[in-house]
Point group: C2
Chain length 375, copies 2
């Protein structure tokens, strides 16, 4: 039985205090402390269903065979981080948590834990990222804010990076529409960078979420920002680039999105300012052109059968994974794995796709339900 | 023997005064007086090598069998137009004229005559059209002028419509670079519309050309402008749209270009103003995105083996038309038709393509030469 399928279904509060779960949480945090070159291995182990302590032990044995103390050191650091997180009002959401966003389980290097502040219901909404230049033109700020407001009004969560310029305009646009927005940070979720966005971050929390994979107290070092970008795209069905120069960091987010199989769209603009070189290069390479929110919604509908995840009226039923599920009956990963003959590592991305297509939904406790209305 | 292959090679001045040629010219003008629903038939007859009087007679017999006087009426009107043209300093360039631009012979509804003012050497250059909004933004004017200047500096002729806004900015840009530009009018070439562009038209003449298919004295009626657009694209290897709203006339030029197999490119811009709806829609449908002149030159190179028509170093020699030509030896249309088994109507567009690819060139007198350097 895998770790994921061990979790009971139900609200989170009821799961707190179980000793196994608490140990697991520390284990996921410990895994998250390992360096970047291990992240793909971690993702592989998590998808294979390893308990975090098992995954950690395997990784350490393979890569640091001469450092027997590393395991307990990491566990201690993780426990300290959990203490600090609790002190600072952060809620950790581990891989095994039913609130862990399914979209992130499909990326190759998922964070074992997300540290959050705010309303984690925001993670359940279909999301679109809007990112772009920090030194944005008034035009870009205007476009980002309008697109975010229009998408948020349609029920989509807006993901961005809380940076100056386009990012913060996107968050503000979502808020102006009474919508939900997620800010993924390149520092601990207890630290707001840049400082001037403290009020914005507070405004995000009631209906949205401040998110970081970095343990509480982590300072905003330059190397964290490109890494953070894979989470911005990983949380999202599509990434919209609003004004990106030739070396814009948002092009990293676009590349991550492509690697993760997410849509990349770009807003065109002035060709003389140089501010749109990056965005226009994406258009040249096949990114969809965005003039208004409808362009994004249409793209999502084409790919995912509805931005609001309403299941389509009729679908092909030749899908082998879908065929293993009885409509309306939740099934855990092990069960689907057994029936389909596919390993959990292969199943999870496929299940995520089916979810995006509106054919199944997550039922809590790592279980999946096929919609009745599908064929 | 076809009409085209009857012409002697050599400079035009030496051909003037030949009675047959003069009669032919009047015949082409008479054909040009027929209404738009006959233009495809006219093109077909011209490509088939009919002498203009023969083509005219066939068309009139088929379509106006009960109007026996129409032939002589048209001939008389043509003679009057030729007189008026001479009075007003216009030079007619008929279909059979070696200066008639080969690019235009490939369109389905070529004008039998072009009335011109200026330097007709401009017709021999590879050309790119730049068109767009009349009520253009300062941004669009700036972009159009820069693109035109950069392309003209590279030896390309810039084709446009002498309209307010983007068109005139394109002409000005070409002039600023000391280049050649062609203005295709929706009225007689002796009438400048809008009036305020009279000085611009005069500045175009020394190295460029004012062009119209309409007989001298024709007033600028609204219906002439969409018809004129097929000549703008027909003269050009590519059409670049700089700022076009949803109902912009330049979208007609883009559609003509697509029908004629020419490249369509568009400059992106502001998505909030509504000024770029048309251009962005073209990008969505596959038009190439233009930020600078190099983007256009690259596109021409990809399609045509070099904007300057330099033949490529090596090419496949499987082409049946190319195989009929001995490198360096000029051959007329009849000869190529006989060798290839293709009718002149089919051959001309193909020869035009080979010319665009830099594999053959026109040798005067309707003859074609294959380049030595090709395989």
């Amino acid at each position: 039985m895998t770790e994921r399928s061990k979790q009971p279904a139900g609200p989170y509060s009821s799961e707190r205090g179980e000793p196994q779960r608490s140990a697991d949480l520390a284990g996921f945090v410990a895994l998250s402390l390992l360096p970047i070159h291990t992240w793909r291995d971690i993702g592989e182990r998590l998808r294979a269903g390893d308990a975090p302590a098992v995954a950690l032990d395997r990784l350490l044995t393979a890569r640091w065979p001469l450092e027997p103390r590393k395991f307990s050191d990491l566990q201690a650091a993780a426990a300290a981080a959990l203490g600090q997180g609790a002190e600072r009002g952060l809620t950790p959401i581990a891989w095994s948590d039913a609130a862990y966003p399914p979209a992130l389980t499909a990326i190759i290097d998922p964070p074992p834990v997300l540290w959050t502040r705010g309303s984690r219901a925001a993670l359940a909404r279909p999301a679109v990222a809007i990112v772009g230049s920090r030194a944005a033109s008034p035009y870009a700020l205007d476009v980002a804010e309008r697109l975010a407001a229009d998408l948020a009004a349609r029920g989509l969560a807006i993901v961005s990076g809380l940076a100056r310029g386009v990012d913060s305009a996107a968050h503000r646009g979502a808020l102006s529409a009474g919508g939900s927005t997620l800010a993924v940070l390149g520092c601990g979720a207890d630290i707001i960078y840049p400082r001037e966005h403290a009020a914005l971050a507070r405004a995000i929390e009631p209906d949205g979420l401040i998110v970081s994979e970095l343990i509480p107290g982590t300072r905003p070092l330059p190397r964290f920002f490109p890494q953070r970008n894979r989470i911005i795209s990983g949380l999202s069905r599509a990434v919209v680039i609003v004004e990106a120069g030739e070396r814009s960091g948002s092009l990293i987010t676009a590349r991550c999105a492509l690697e993760q199989g997410r849509d990349v769209l770009a807003v065109p603009g002035n060709v003389l300012s140089g501010r749109n070189r990056g965005g226009h290069a994406l258009l040249r390479d096949g990114a969809k052109i965005v003039e208004r929110a409808d362009d994004i919604l249409e793209e999502l509908n084409e790919v995912g059968g509805g931005a609001g995840s309403a299941p389509p009226a009729a679908v092909p039923c030749a899908d082998p994974v879908l065929a293993c599920l009885t409509p309306g009956e939740p099934c855990d990963l092990d069960g689907i794995s057994e029936r389909s003959g596919l390993s959990p590592a292969r199943l999870l991305p496929r299940l995520f796709e089916l979810e995006l297509q509106g054919l199944i939904r997550r039922a809590g406790g790592g279980r999946f339900v096929r919609f009745d209305r599908t064929c």
